[in-house]
Symmetry: C2
């Protein structure tokens, strides 16, 4: 039996398998698709992969992904700068924006507290959050980390450190099933959770 | 509500969604994964995508994909050059090779007859197959196109045109469920099908 694939094909299959949720069979299907597509389309995909890594950076204010100094939300003058929603990841911002009911701004922690994995407050953007609150102008902080153990611990910790600031701190409301990943919750549940938020 | 993604991210998600089996949610997950990976890994994936398209071509003998003049199977002196297995697609070669019981060579038709879609004998590599048989040295042709309507029609047509050549023509044996795509059949069924092939 000869080796199944010529080298460039084997290499692409190997690279594709490194992506999350792509097994050997999917990787082969994708590789054959790419092999058959127009060279222009291949280059367009390849360019997009490199561009996303080289052109994207973190918003200097909220730490969401952006291709400019400020992300689109922070740069939008129509957003309510007095309400700050704290989330774990940029994908959570997208999930909340999809619900279409929130008009405030965000703070992306870029992680959640996970003591067992050695992730403490200094490893996520909590220090930067405290600075933003100190700078003034924010009257309410909505803790919208996912209701997982890590998300709950992060919300609790954040509430503790913000207690002295005098700012109103709320936790995203019920409506999100416990243990669920915010990024997978339907838009209506997210809208309910935002509307039904409670003071901590 | 601001636009959900910055432009480079939106563009990558759009490109990923063009791939088969990748929906909006998977595309977003993959894009965020790529965004978070090392720049070196991104470039490696991007290079592999372009390389597969620019370095791969068709084997001048069997029309399988290859990165050289001849594919690895045609170039392998240990393969039995008197037995020729006819398949529709390069992925079928991989499926047959995985079974590990075949030591002959291949001919990839690069398609199957589909009159309703306007795909006739002149659109696939049947002419080249006839030439290979005429060149001599081949004593058996195994028709291993998938047992779908198109694969059966292609096998029947190929048998008809090869009838006068005097070469033994066999059809891949039972063991493959009717209607199944060869590329998805388990290795043992493929091994049985090869062993139980019958003369047409």
């Amino acid at each position: 039996m000869a080796e199944a694939h010529a080298r460039p094909l084997a290499r692409l299959i190997e690279e594709l398998q490194k992506l999350p949720g792509i097994g050997p069979k999917s990787a082969q299907r994708l590789a054959f698709h790419i092999l058959r597509s127009q060279e222009e389309d291949c280059r367009s995909l390849a360019d997009a992969i490199v561009a996303v890594r080289t052109q994207m950076r973190f918003c200097s204010r909220c730490f969401n992904f952006t291709d400019a100094e400020l992300c689109r939300i922070c740069a939008d003058p129509r957003r309510d700068n007095s309400t700050l929603c704290v989330v774990g990841e940029p994908s959570d911002v997208i999930a909340l924006e999809r619900a279409g009911v929130y008009n405030g701004i965000y703070h992306v922690l870029q992680g959640l507290l996970a003591p067992l994995e050695g992730i403490g407050p200094e490893d996520i953007r909590i220090g930067e959050l405290i600075e933003r609150i100190k700078d003034g102008g924010i009257t309410e902080v909505i803790l919208a980390t996912s209701p997982t153990p890590e998300g709950e611990a992060t919300a609790q910790y954040t509430q503790d450190v913000l207690q002295e600031s005098g700012v109103k701190v709320t936790r995203i409301g019920r409506g999100i099933p416990i243990g669920a990943d915010l990024d997978y919750v339907d838009q209506i549940s997210i809208a309910h959770a935002l509307e039904g938020r409670t003071q901590m």
